[in-house]
Amino acid sequence: MLTRFILPRLGWAVVTILLATILVFGAMQALPGDAATQILGQNATPDAVATLRRQLGLDQSPVERFVTWLGNAVTGNFGTSLVSGQPVGPEVGRALLNTSILAGITIVVGFSLALALGLVAGLFRDRWLDSLISTVALVGMSIPEFIVATLLVLAFSIAIPIFPAVVVAGENASLADLGPAMTLPALSLMFVASAYIIRMMRTSVIDVMETEYVHTARLKGISTSRLVFRHVVPSAILPTLNVVAMNIAWLIGGVVVVESIFNYPGMGSLMIRSVQSRDLPTILLITVVGAMTFVICNLLADLAATLLNPRLRYPRNSK
């Protein structure tokens, strides 16, 4: 299992992460200006810019700089921020923790709800309950998250002011500050990310309900709950797992827009700030973390699918 399944994937994971950093590094080179011009502003003299460039090591060729960064990164040293001069690790770590809390709530509450709604929609196919759920899911898929977020703010911070609209404390907010402020960002994320899971689960349930084995099980005269939870759900959930994994990865990899709307001090906000200041070490570490999350989530989804699917667990010939 380990050698056949996980090791090759880990190999590919390394390649994926490397490619992602190269792409991001290249894209940053293509942007006009660099950290030195951003820090010194428009009125800086060419001399001052050149000096700062030398200090920051930006005078070397891009290839040289990337190789140096890579060499350090492999040993766990991701460098210091070009803006604050502090090591990037702790700063990104704080942001990752905040995003993880937000994502965790969304995943646990939102995705369970989404799976349940998808199941209900599939079971009551073409009835009013299905139409309602499907329509809401379709709306969730079609509206961009910043509109959802704005509408939620309008409704629950302005019309009925029960939740704060933004995190006032910004990046220095403590966990206690974040608590109530997390509700609206989490709701926006749930609404958008759940839509795909609901649709996928619904389709999957409908497919399974039409299989011969569900028909046969029904003819055995078993109870509806047994039919649904023993015969339908285990098979229906398999194709949905990958969509769930993609959504989890998307959540952690930086829900840029939602975080900046609510001024939530997570990976997304940090990334936007770092891009604006051309803070390459921070951006590269965010890239690495994001890519790793993607790879790990997909690996976990495949593992879960294998564990849930007896066909993969017990290949036919290994009797």
Binding site: Y213, T216, L219, K220, G221, I222, H231, Y314, R316
Partner: protein
């Protein structure tokens, strides 16, 4: 339960109409059906696809397709009006009175549940069996033993996919029997199985019926199976019962031309020649008051071509799906030789997993081979993959597939499907109209889409597509297996005519021995990727054959057999792969001797054209003459 009456009848269906709405129009699936069956009897439901027999089977389980409804009439099972049952009552009725043995147990067992749990679910209303965990396990093992599943105690912890098709079917039967039903409904229970497995499963079912005595309803298109299993028979055509009564009576002396036509259009392993097709017009005329049409028993006997040039020669073909062969393993196909001559129909016969489709794919260039020479038209060596073959070679080798509905693009017209190969090869072949005329379809069909054609017509389009580029070799993979018998014989006649008129060589892959007998000139019998016997069609169906061929022939079930023969236990257990040495059939062979397990069998030349790969001396290969016995019955019956 309320509404009861006359419960010595297992089934009492009165004036039943089942319908669905197509727009504002009511379409009847079943019309005016009345059927009765006494307790303990076995009823066969016979008919072609779309005749309503499967709908009838569903009705007996109180189950209809979502859009269908009972328009009028009543269905009483065991004295209970089943369509009046709702919710819990219906569930308990299903859990205790009726059970279904599905057509394809592989698809009917839930893939994510262990066999044990699925069995227990079926007898959970039975208080004694399901009292304790031990009692449940005991009852489950008892059920699996009842259906003769090998290693029954180890099976409970396994999942459905870990069993072969025949074993899955046995589990399906065990599951149906679990609740001790009073009525067992079997929907084509052996249709997807190999002939030996089919015979073994039917033996098991027959024994179970004798031991348990429940009433059974068996849906099948196969009259031989019905004849073996059923005491009564109801013949369905277009949603109506055209004839109903005692099996022996109806199959010997049908009083409706449809039953007669069904009987006469089935090819037999005992009688050479292609049977006549069903005459729908005559049947319709009869239903409108005309007299019974005379019984047509003239079979068309094909004549093999004389000494024509070779179109395909295969020498020493070996195919192995394992890239790195394991010690103790053996290649999928080993040392395979074959010749197809112009105008000749060569049948490649074997059970599923025998490698017949692998060989066709190698010839078509879709599957790589490890070694072996393939020669087309005596001069051209065939490259291993289709990408390395010239356009001329690709044009010369064409394939027809089993499922015409899935091998035609549903969005392309018939004309597109037929002329596409021509445009690809940039050759002047037949026009779409000419190709359709060749396969007996009107030229007006060119603009139709596959969805607008019947199954037989689609298969004709598939054939037209294959011949439009004027190939010299056609690979026909199970091309009549999915068709109703009435259409089957017309396609067989078409194959015969194309071979003769166009000098086409056919490599015809099939598991159906009766079809082989009717249309093939020469036969190659394949077992686990090795040739066990080859010869002309009369030699293969003659009195001397390889033990495997004998087993296949003995397993075929036809109307008029005495049906007493049974398959020895374990004879239907096909090993997962060929042995590394010795005879591939040694593990199942009734005549096996020690040398068979160690040494490759020699080739016995029973005649210049008849070769048997076997260690047993040829005198002992003369089998019990079942075939000649059977032909006697057949002639009695038709005279």
């Amino acid at each position: 339960m309320s509404i009861t009456r006359n419960d010595d009848l297992a089934i009492d269906v009165k004036d039943l109409d089942i319908a669905y709405m197509s727009g504002k129009l009511r379409v009847n699936v079943l019309e005016n059906v009345s059927l009765q069956l006494r307790q303990g009897e076995v009823l066969g439901l016979v008919g072609e696809s779309g005749s309503g027999k499967s709908t009838m089977a569903g009705v007996l389980l109180a189950s209809l397709r979502t859009s269908s409804f009972v328009a009028s009439g009543t269905v009483h099972l065991d004295g209970m009006d089943v369509f009046k049952l709702k919710g819990r009552e219906l569930r308990e009725f299903r859990a205790s009175h009726v059970a279904l043995v599905p057509q394809n147990a592989g698809a009917a067992l839930t893939p994510t549940m262990r066999i044990g749990e699925q069995l227990e679910e079926s007898f959970r209303l039975d208080a004694t069996s399901s009292a304790t965990r031990d009692a449940r396990i005991r009852r489950s093992i008892e059920l699996l033993d009842l259906v003769r599943l090998p290693n029954s105690s180890g099976a409970l912890e396994k999942y459905p996919h870990q069993f072969s098709g025949g074993q899955q079917q046995r589990i399906g039967i065990a599951m149906a029997l679990a609740a001790r039903p009073k009525l067992l409904v079997l929907d084509e229970p052996t249709t997807g199985l190999d002939v030996v497995t089919q015979a073994a499963i039917l033996d098991t079912l027959k024994r179970l019926h004798q031991e348990l005595g429940m009433a059974m309803v068996m849906v099948s298109h196969d009259l031989g199976v019905i004849d073996k299993m059923c005491s009564r028979i109801a013949v369905f055509r277009r949603g109506r019962v055209v004839e109903e009564g005692e099996t022996s009576l109806i199959l010997r002396e049908p009083s409706h031309p449809y039953t007669q036509g069904l009987l006469d259009s089935v090819p037999r392993i005992t009688v050479p020649g292609i049977p006549p097709s069903l005459d729908d017009a005559a049947i319709d005329a009869f239903e409108h008051g005309a007299t019974m049409p005379p019984r047509e028993v003239s079979l068309y006997e094909r004549v093999a071509p004389e000494k024509t040039a070779s179109v395909l020669a295969i020498r020493g073909l070996t195919v192995d799906y394992d890239r790195k062969p394991k010690p103790g393993g053996a290649p999928t196909v080993l040392d395979f030789d074959l010749d197809v001559h112009a105008g000749e129909i060569v049948a490649l016969v074997g059970e599923s997993g025998s490698g017949k489709s692998t060989i066709a794919n190698v010839v078509a260039g879709l599957q790589r081979r490890q070694s072996g020479e393939l020669t087309l038209d005596t001069t051209t060596a065939l490259a291993p993959t289709v990408a390395h073959r010239s356009k001329a070679v690709r044009r010369a080798v064409q394939m027809i597939f089993q499922n015409a509905d899935t091998s035609l693009n549903p969005r392309r017209t018939v004309r597109d499907a037929i002329t596409r190969p021509l445009r690809l090869f940039n050759v002047r072949g037949l026009s779409a109209e000419e190709a359709l005329a060749e396969v007996g379809l009107p030229s007006g069909f060119t603009e139709r889409l596959p969805g607008q054609l019947s199954g037989g017509q689609r298969q004709r389009v598939g054939i037209a597509r294959a011949i439009s580029a004027r190939p010299s070799l056609v690979l026909a993979d199970e091309i009549v297996s999915a068709l109703d018998v009435s259409v089957q014989s017309s396609i067989l006649r078409l194959m015969d005519r194309l071979a003769r008129d166009n000098n086409l060589g056919f490599l015809f892959i099939t598991h159906d021995l009766a079809v082989v007998r009717s249309v093939a000139d020469r036969v190659v019998v394949l077992y686990l990727g090795r040739i066990v016997e080859e010869g002309t069609v009369s030699e293969i169906f003659g009195p001397v054959s390889h033990p495997y061929t004998s087993l296949l022939l003995a397993s075929v079930i036809e109307v008029g057999d005495d049906h007493s023969e049974t398959i020895a236990p374990g004879q239907d257990e096909v090993p997962a792969g060929p042995p590394a040495r010795g005879c591939p059939f040694a593990s199942r062979c009734p005549l096996v001797v020690e040398i068979c397990r160690t040494t490759k069998p020699p080739v016995i030349e029973a005649s210049s054209t008849h070769a048997i790969h076997c260690h047993v001396p040829v005198e002992k290969l003369r089998h019990s003459q079942t075939t000649s016995l059977r032909s006697a019955t057949r002639f009695q019956q038709t005279s």
